[in-house]
């Protein structure tokens, strides 16, 4: 089990940190959340009963740790680096917390609906509907901006 956790950590670190950074709203907080999440997973590995996949269990812990980090710090809204003098705007405040998490897991971790559903303990149908609504909101807002 420990070896599997380490392998997952090493293989998916980039995606884990991207998702955690996006949720926490800050890169340092996101990276720290991933480290804390895996420490938590290592400590609690015996409580994993194999009812879902190990990956979904770990993603759940990472998402929770990133949420905790954001709430603990009330991190500032993540801003992308400026380009040509204009900071690109991602209107994340138009999305609910659930929508944001699904968007981040889909885009940054490339998880499919079933994997996201496992990680967030919701149904795949809810994931699909939520992602569609979130995309529409983002697309409309970005079209307005441009």
């Amino acid at each position: 089990m420990l070896e599997e956790l380490e392998a997952f950590y090493r293989t998916h670190l980039a995606e884990l940190r991207r998702v955690a950074t996006a949720i926490a709203g800050d890169r340092e907080l996101g990276c720290d959340a991933v480290q804390e999440a895996f420490a938590r997973a290592v400590r609690k590995r015996r409580s994993f009963r194999g009812e879902g996949t190990l990956e979904a269990w770990v993603w759940r812990i990472v998402v929770n740790a990133a949420r905790d980090a954001r709430r603990g710090q009330r991190a500032a809204v993540l801003e992308a680096p400026a380009e040509n003098g204009h900071a690109p705007v991602v209107p994340l405040d138009l999305l609910s917390e659930r929508q944001r998490e699904i968007v981040f897991l889909h885009y940054y971790a490339d998880l499919d609906y079933a994997a996201i559903a496992d990680a967030l303990e919701i149904s795949p149908g809810t994931v699909g509907a939520t992602l569609t609504a979130a995309r529409r909101t983002l697309r409309d807002a970005l079209e307005e901006v441009s």
């Binding site: 380490e6 950590y9 090493r10 670190l13 980039a14 940190r17 991207r18 950074t21 996006a22 890169r27 340092e28 907080l29 990276c31 720290d32 480290q35 804390e36 895996f38 420490a39 938590r40 290592v42 400590r43 980090a69 603990g72 710090q73 009330r74 993540l78 992308a80 680096p81 380009e83 690109p88 705007v89 991602v90 994340l92 968007v103 885009y107 940054y108 995309r135 983002l138 697309r139 970005l142 901006v145 441009s146």
Partner: protein, 191 residues
């Protein structure tokens, strides 16, 4: 711009350096237990205030800047939870100190005449030995006492910070005072 490119720019992909050793270290309960025991002893023996306690602790100094003298780290933590709030160590070259506050803010500070304030969370330092207390004032007018502590020896600096999480992030002013209550430093914020 599409949502793809916007999200790509929001958190760009990058090569990441894994630190599995850090994960395993965090997973170990030993250090936390040792700290809690140390605090309980400190509270029992010295009657340290219940909100925060200070213990001298020889630490391995993981995460501290390289310039820090890691053999002599002072740890400040919340006795009820054992959570580390602040760690301070002298610099190896003797010019100032190094600090680490959770989560992941760390640095080394040379001696200077300036009183420095960082936020949020509210955290700052001064090498002015007169400072013994401080308050933060919210826009509503409500004031919050700050944790202020002078670290002697080679650190020889006074550090102040928010006491717990009750201090709001949005502040009107921060005032630092001497033992007679006279204002030594004042920071005012415009919103």
């Amino acid at each position: 711009m599409t949502e793809f490119t916007a999200l790509e720019e929001l958190v760009p992909a990058r090569d990441e350096e894994p630190d599995w050793e850090d994960v395993l270290r965090r997973a170990r309960p030993a250090r936390r237990i040792r700290l809690v025991v140390a605090v309980l002893v400190a509270v029992a023996v010295f009657g340290v205030a219940p909100a925060l306690a200070v213990v001298l602790f020889r630490d391995h100094g993981l995460g501290f800047p390289p310039a820090a003298d890691k053999s002599n780290i002072v740890v400040i933590l919340a006795p009820q939870t054992g959570r580390i709030l602040l760690e301070v160590a002298p610099r190896k070259d003797g010019n100032g100190f190094c600090f680490r506050i959770k989560p992941l803010r760390a640095g080394c500070v040379p001696r200077s005449k300036e009183t420095v304030l960082m936020r949020p969370p509210l955290f700052g330092w001064s090498f002015d030995p007169r400072i013994v207390s401080g308050t933060a004032t919210a826009p509503s007018g409500k004031t919050f006492p700050l944790f202020v502590r002078h670290f002697g020896g080679r650190i020889d600096a006074t550090i102040y910070m928010a006491r717990g999480r009750l201090v709001p992030r949005l502040l009107k002013s921060v005032v630092l005072r001497d033992a007679s209550g006279n204002v030594v430093s004042r920071f005012a914020f415009k919103h």
